[in-house]
Symmetry: C2
Subunit: 333 residues, 2 copies
């Protein structure tokens, strides 16, 4: 345990991903909506796993992926989320700690196993998520270490936290501490179906609590129930201090007060699996923001990190992001 | 459980791989010999895991990788090996069964956990293996189902089986049943250090028990303690019915009686991680052999499978080998 200043802390569901290739017919047969995240219970998780092909296991969880990315850029980062004392819980903890991430929530000695997400990757590199929250679903305000949030520049939370019952109280606690300490709260809308489930609360959050908002095109359109990206942009503009909207290979748009940046996607040599693209964009952006870089550079760092993670299976970077971003960072630091 | 005829059954250590990128300095610091397999105990496994970077978990085990490859070509395959009733054991079993592989050894209810192999992948795509055998180390003759071996064309065993105490008895049992049923025994020398540990026994096996022998250049040179590949080739020639010697990007040499084939490696677009290259060569070769294809085509199928598995992290194919080999197979079947 440490007590030095941190750049970014993530609060989210602790998940190990199980990734497998599947064809489109598999999704249709299983009633899965391509590109979305569905919550599943134990019995559905078992059935679906039996139907899936061979998999690879990689630590995941949206906010945790972002935190791994921040650490990959060389940022000082921490994570809050719940695991069980089982093999997948040990994998999840190792994969964060080995990056130097502070992760001090002790694994539960009983209750459901460590959460996992069954991910079907179709030949178009799109990913379809089926999340069994497991131990992650027990996250509550007691897991949030007040002193950790107070010494952290930006606390980042995932919209998925609205699904487990007590996690939104963890959000409130973190938000109150962060703002009382002059710190920022960043938030991701996570998934358009998640926005559907929690639209009114997310609009309230965007207007009153969130300093830095991340959303992709589908999510921001869902938030304001509009078919037009530009319409959604006009709605959200001015509510949060900073809004970063990602649009896959069309790049991203960043707005802050009168400032607007339209940033190209980083060309990817190979697109294998888009799992984690949004999470890693947030990683680059938040790392840049925590280092006081221009918003345009923050967006560039987001694009570089997203481009790395879509070039292989899994939502955690395999290469050093600091290395990949060296030219970009050398030009500004 | 099934009782139909099988093409290939593998007997080996049931292992889940934990793969992580590392630099050459890491290997030097930890006293690891690049490219080799070292056996480690629980405490060393824990220490080394703590020192490693973030990993991905993929089912592994040399013979099990081969069997997954045979199934990927559309072959009927089975596997014999021991797991524990833990999360990694469930992953190992799922990854084989989801390919249609018969795997009926029940997981142990107590004893050591499912085995794992900590794999450091250096920037040259070379892999260095550190195996904690765990439950796999308890493999013995009782695990070998006599009727399964009797209905299988080729039973394939890994040289690594000589390390756990009772596994060589499992080999003897399988060899006796296979030969009494007019079936073939295939064997891989596995690793040059493994050959060092068991040289005399391996020479006896090669001369008296093995019908199909797989070895890479280092292993066959180690077996006959010679610095010359050609010298080793002359030594081994004539002892086994078929010998397939792999030489990385130099391709492979296959000898059987007077027949000799020199087969090119399949060009790889990308070499990310060479873990499993030899195992997948054996998969293509054995699939072809079980289908009665010419030895040259068997070697080509081996090269195709090896080329797929070195293009990504992990020793199990991510693409359909039947699809990749379609042109080659269409030309001969």
């Amino acid at each position: 345990m440490s007590d030095g200043p941190l750049d970014v802390v993530g609060i989210g569901n602790a998940i190990v991903d199980v990734l497998s290739h599947a064809d489109d017919e598999f999704l249709v047969r299983e009633g899965l909506v391509k590109g979305s995240m569905a919550l599943i219970d134990t019995s559905r998780a078992e059935t679906l796993y039996q139907l899936m092909g061979p998999g690879i296991e990689v630590s995941g969880g949206s906010a945790a992926n972002t935190i791994a990315g921040v650490a990959g850029f060389g940022g000082k980062a921490g994570f809050v989320g719940r695991t069980r004392d089982d093999q997948l819980g040990a994998v999840f903890a190792h994969d964060l700690r080995s990056l130097g991430v502070e992760f001090d929530v002790p694994p539960a000695a009983d209750g459901p196993p460590t959460g996992r997400c069954l991910i079907l990757v179709t030949p178009d590199a799109q990913r379809t998520l089926n999340t069994y929250l497991g131990a992650g679903g027990d996250l509550g305000p007691d897991d949030v270490d007040a002193s950790m949030v107070a010494r952290t520049q930006i606390t980042y939370l995932e919209g998925y936290l609205w699904d487990p019952p007590a996690a939104k109280e963890a959000f409130r606690k973190a938000s109150d501490i962060a703002h009382a300490s002059g710190r920022k709260i960043a938030f991701s809308l996570s998934d358009s179906f998640c926005v559907d489930r929690w639209r009114e609360e997310f609009i309230q959050l965007a207007e009153h609590e969130i300093d830095v908002l991340f959303a992709n095109e589908d999510e921001i359109k869902s938030l304001y129930q509009t078919a037009s990206f530009d319409d959604a942009l006009q709605h959200v503009r001015g509510h949060c201090e900073i809004v970063a909207l990602t649009r896959s290979d069309k790049g991203s748009v960043v707005v802050s007060g009168d400032e607007v940046h339209v940033i190209d996607a980083e060309p990817a040599k190979l697109v294998v699996d888009t799992t984690g693209a949004g999470d890693l964009y947030a990683a680059g952006f938040l790392f840049g923001l925590s280092r006081g870089l221009d918003l345009y550079v923050c967006g560039q760092l987001g694009s570089i990190a997203a481009s790395e993670v879509i070039s292989h299976m899994g939502a955690r970077p395999e290469m050093s992001l600091a290395e990949l971003a060296r030219d970009t960072l050398n030009a500004v630091i």
